[in-house]
Amino acid sequence: MRMRGVKLDPEGYEVMALDRVVSLKGKRVIEIGCGDGRLTRALAERAREVVAIDPNPRDIRAARQSTPKHLKRRVRFQVATAEDLPFRDGEFAVAVFSWSL
């Protein structure tokens, strides 16, 4: 959960850099360690679908609550650990570790 009085990357430099190195258009993306969903929203704006996982149920709740309505159909949040991903082989085109490796 983000602290009050702290804003992370309000300039959007992270997403600008991401756009320069990878296109997510039309792709299924898994975000491993999504935290409160800060980056998930940007991924969902670009990808066909994002599955975002985190082991912390509190973070997953916060991420769900902060997802804008227009993105809810494209994002699925799930409590899960990186070491034991509950998904089929070859389901995703991109796996994102944002400050979580």
């Binding site: 702290v6 992370l8 430099y13 992270e14 190195v21 070859g90 085109a93 944002s98 490796l101």
Partner: protein, 148 residues
């Protein structure tokens, strides 16, 4: 977390990508937003994230032939805080081994006054690493070579 990378490899399709976003070992800079613009007031001391461990993990899966390095791009990740007190609390809670020194605190007080309320920014050097899932044949041939 090497296991996490292996787990991620399993759920990636052939040619799938790993996107690893993280800070670099270079020290972050602390900036103060003033009417005259953003001024550097010091460097963050200590490190908060295990960047070297993460690099070692990536190197290991590359050596194992599970992924191929594809691209790296550098960028600046900015953390905006609303006061010196917020900055300190943020460092304590989120950056387990980082702190600001006395000289930096004095400069902040000179610029923002005794209560030090105003925008303070941690400017953190960061990178995005892109790795491509290697094909199974490549892994087999690497293992065979290693066994010889």
């Amino acid at each position: 977390m090497v296991h996490a990378l292996k787990s991620a490899r399993r759920v990636l399709k052939a040619g799938g990508l790993i996107v690893d976003i993280r800070s670099t070992p270079e020290p972050a800079v602390v900036l103060c937003e003033t009417p005259a613009g953003r001024l550097v007031v010091g460097r963050l001391r200590g490190t908060h994230r295990k960047t070297q461990t993460a690099t070692a993990r990536l190197n290991r899966v590359v050596r194992q032939g599970l992924f191929k390095p594809h691209r790296i791009i550098a960028f600046r990740f900015l953390h905006h805080t609303s006061s010196l007190e917020t900055l300190r609390t943020y460092l304590e809670e989120e950056w387990s081994a980082a702190w600001i020194d006395g000289k930096t605190v004095s400069r902040i007080h000179r610029l923002l006054g005794p209560k030090a309320i105003g925008t303070l920014i941690i400017d953190e050097p960061a990178r995005i690493h892109i790795l491509v899932k290697a094909r199974a044949e490549r892994i087999r041939s690497q293992r065979q070579e290693a066994a010889r």
